[in-house]
């Protein structure tokens, strides 16, 4: 492959990386559950695109495999599964009072991204030159932003998507540095993501039925001494 093509592939990959990061920022800040889902789908597509570009660049069938698995499982199966398991209401929910207001949350996210850069660059430098690129720092940023999403959101769907976004982040770094992972493992991890959606969907439905809300983050009866003890007879039910 010519040098110019390689250069172009790497630039395209960097573009996908930049957009991937942007989508992660969007998931921190978007109030609408459906908007969050769309951003997550975009992010997964960008992960697939990056995998395909790197696969083309390094002639790796494994990475094509990652791209195909991501194309099928996240944009198609995840929303379908969510619709099957969870009440329709979750999509229309909007978080009015967030833990942090949006500008503060975005500033924190920015700080995390800078941290990710300083974590990621030494890691990139430790692997062979051909593995280097923007993937590792951006992947770590995706991971940390996903974790951050989990701490600032209250609604079921953004929380669930935060978990999956963390996985996306780990993989975005992974496709650059661990690209010969056995295909079976890739498939198993994708299946695992679907089980996550299923279980969390079922839990959300149960919460909505028995507690009457889908803002799962707002449930806070279980505390240490100082709070009112929970009065319940589990056995009696």
């Amino acid at each position: 492959m010519s040098e110019a093509t390689n250069q172009m592939l790497e630039n395209l990959n960097a573009l996908a990386g930049g957009l991937f990061l942007l989508a992660a920022f969007g998931m921190v800040a978007t109030r609408q559950a459906r908007g969050c889902l769309n951003l997550f789908i975009t992010q997964s597509l960008l992960l697939a695109a990056s995998a395909a570009l790197l696969g083309f660049r390094h002639h790796s069938e494994h990475l094509y495999g990652v791209a195909v698995v991501n194309l099928i499982s996240k944009p198609l199966v995840v929303p379908w599964l969510l619709r099957k398991t969870s009440p329709e209401e979750i999509y229309t929910r909007r978080e009015v009072d967030q833990v942090l207001n949006i500008p503060t949350a975005l500033l924190m996210a920015l700080a995390l991204t800078i941290l990710a850069y300083f974590l990621g660059v030494p890691l990139s430098n430790a692997v062979e030159a051909e593995f280097r690129g923007p993937n590792v720092p951006i992947g770590i940023a995706g991971l940390l932003l996903g974790a951050f999403t989990l701490t600032v959101r209250r609604e079921a769907v953004p929380l669930l998507l935060g978990v999956l976004a963390m996985e996306n982040g780990a993989f975005f770094a992974g496709i650059a540095i661990a690209r010969n992972l056995p295909m079976l493992v890739e498939l198993a991890i994708a299946t695992d993501g679907l089980i996550i959606v299923f279980i969390m969907g079922v839990l959300t439905r149960a919460v909505q039925k028995h507690v009457g809300t889908t803002a799962v983050g707002e449930m806070a009866t279980l505390k240490e001494a100082g709070a009112e003890p929970v009065k319940e007879e589990a056995v009696a039910k």
């Binding site: 507690v211 009866t221 279980l222």
Partner: protein, 498 residues
């Protein structure tokens, strides 16, 4: 081959309990399946203790996905043991809840799947595969934690799933970096053994980053402080037999994965996993010991004691000598059998009185002598009173620390253990022997305990049986460690230091 059968049994049991037959069917199937598992894992452990190497490849010449050595055989044996006693305890416990047959089948199907996922953790030898089964343990147990469908149970389950998955995300990155480190070191089979072999050539920064991410990520699921916040909720809201599994063996199975990283780290030059282990371990023991003093819910009390013991085990591993590693393995065994007993005792108390509040339970020994005696024995056993199993193992740990000259670590550990002892016994003593305070009535009577406080409550037969079965190893291991178990512990300890 027998290893694959061990994994197949719980899956077959899951399929069988889904058949709509009378209530006795799922209960019977689960007990039989767990007993069969116990026999098979004991056999496997026996053979490994006798020196037989065991490696099974799914495809000859391809990746070795399944491997069992001393350490994994020990964890397998403990899982099967607690699964068996918990399945017996479930019979009486679930009968009291008055469930519909459908709900009961759901419980048992989930129960067997959960056992499957836990058994797969020590068996899988490929780290990313291990990560997947660790995720499965969370996902299979989530619906067991939320089983009661009360506000607090759902909240606990959600917290459990969210924080565990958050940790798992971190750990996934750790495992991918580990894979990259392996590639940078020139490849080889990506298994625990292969990693230890390749470790000296790995770039240190990759290996250490991987270790920290895995320790933090999986440490969340083990309940190490400060990532422990979900644990007391989940381990107190689940039905008691499930608590026994969660606290007794699930935490151990996940800790096993962290322990697997130690030989890899030790093979690499200039990496100090011991420091991480001792710092995180001591923080966990200390924080849990003080939190134990202020609990209001007796199931939460035992949950905090799990955090404490995970810290003790990690500290012992961090001491690093072979004596300390042996003692850590002893502690793993003692904790699993004792903690399951404690949760059976707590479950019996809950059945007798219908409340989880420490303040509402007074004079339990008069209301239900069986539950009261079990709670006292459990409290004494879990806090390390002689001559019970945990006394012996904690004593060995402290002894190993002192002979090594680590006075500060050992001293702190001893102080925290003593604080935990007072914390637990203070509550247990009041609950079991305390006089009924004036104006404060016992917990609201529940449907099966009609009548006044004077009535004695009889424990269901199966609950009593499970308590006795769980008490046997707890009492026995305090005075005598059989030869095969000693060999197995030595092998398991050696797997950490090699």
């Amino acid at each position: 081959m027998s290893a694959l059968i061990i994994l197949l049994i719980p899956l077959v049991a899951t399929a069988l309990v889904c058949i709509p037959l009378p209530k006795r069917w799922p209960m019977g199937v689960t007990v039989v399946a767990c007993a069969a598992l116990l026999v098979l894992t004991a056999q496997l452990a026996w053979r490994i203790a006798a020196g037989e190497a065991f490696v099974s490849a799914l495809h000859a010449g391809m990746l070795k996905w399944i491997a069992v050595d001393g350490l994994s055989a020990l964890v397998l044996l403990l899982i099967a043991l607690v699964a068996t006693t918990a399945s017996i305890f479930s019979i009486g416990y679930m009968a009291q809840e008055g469930l519909t047959p459908g709900k009961l089948r759901l419980y048992y199907a989930n129960y067997n799947l959960f056992i499957f996922s836990m058994l797969a953790v020590p068996m899988a030898a490929e780290p990313t595969l291990v990560w997947i089964v660790v995720e499965l343990t969370t996902l299979c147990s989530a619906l067991l934690v939320s089983f009661d469908n009360t506000h607090s149970a759902l909240e606990a389950a959600w917290k459990y799933v969210l924080l565990s998955l958050m940790g798992a995300g971190m750990a996934l990155f750790g495992f991918l970096v580990l894979f990259a480190a392996m590639q940078a070191a020139g490849g080889g089979t990506y298994t625990w053994d292969g990693l230890a072999a390749a470790a000296p050539q790995m770039p240190p920064i990759l290996l250490q980053t991987a270790f920290v991410f895995i320790l933090i990520g999986l440490g969340t699921k083990v309940g190490l402080v400060p990532m422990h916040t979900w644990l007391p909720d989940a381990h107190s809201q689940a039905p008691s037999p499930v608590c026994a599994l969660l606290s007794g063996v699930e935490t151990t199975a996940i800790l096993y994965v962290i322990l697997r990283m130690f030989p890899v780290m030790r093979a690499a030059p200039h990496s100090h996993p011991e420091a991480w282990a001792i710092v995180l371990g001591l923080i966990s023991v200390g924080v849990a010991a003080f939190l134990l003093l202020q609990v209001r819910d007796y199931k939460r009390m035992f949950a905090f004691s799990t955090v404490e013991h995970m810290g003790v085990i990690l500290t012992a591993v961090g001491l690093g000598t072979s004596a300390a590693s042996y003692a850590a393995m002893q502690q793993i065994v003692a904790h699993s059998v004792t903690k399951s007993f404690c949760f059976f005792a707590a479950g019996s108390t809950l059945l007798a009185l219908g409340t989880r509040e420490i303040g509402a339970v007074r004079g339990l020994i008069r209301r239900s002598p069986g539950a009261g005696a079990a709670l006292v024995l459990g409290g004494l056993a879990i806090t390390g009173a002689p001559p019970l199993a945990i006394f012996l193992s904690e004593f060995s740990i402290l002894k190993a620390g002192l002979t090594q000259g680590r006075y500060v670590v050992t001293g702190l550990l001893a102080i925290f253990i003593v604080i935990a002892f007072f914390g637990v016994m203070l509550h247990v003593n009041r609950m079991v022997f305390g006089a009924q305070e004036n104006g404060q009535h016992a917990a609201p009577a529940i449907h099966h305990s009609e009548g006044s406080n004077g009535n004695k409550y009889r424990l269901p037969f199966s609950c009593g049986l499970a308590l006795i079965l769980a008490a046997v190893p707890m009492l026995l291991l305090g005075v005598y460690i059989p030869k095969p178990l000693h060999d197995l512990l030595t092998l398991a300890g050696a797997a950490l230091t090699k």
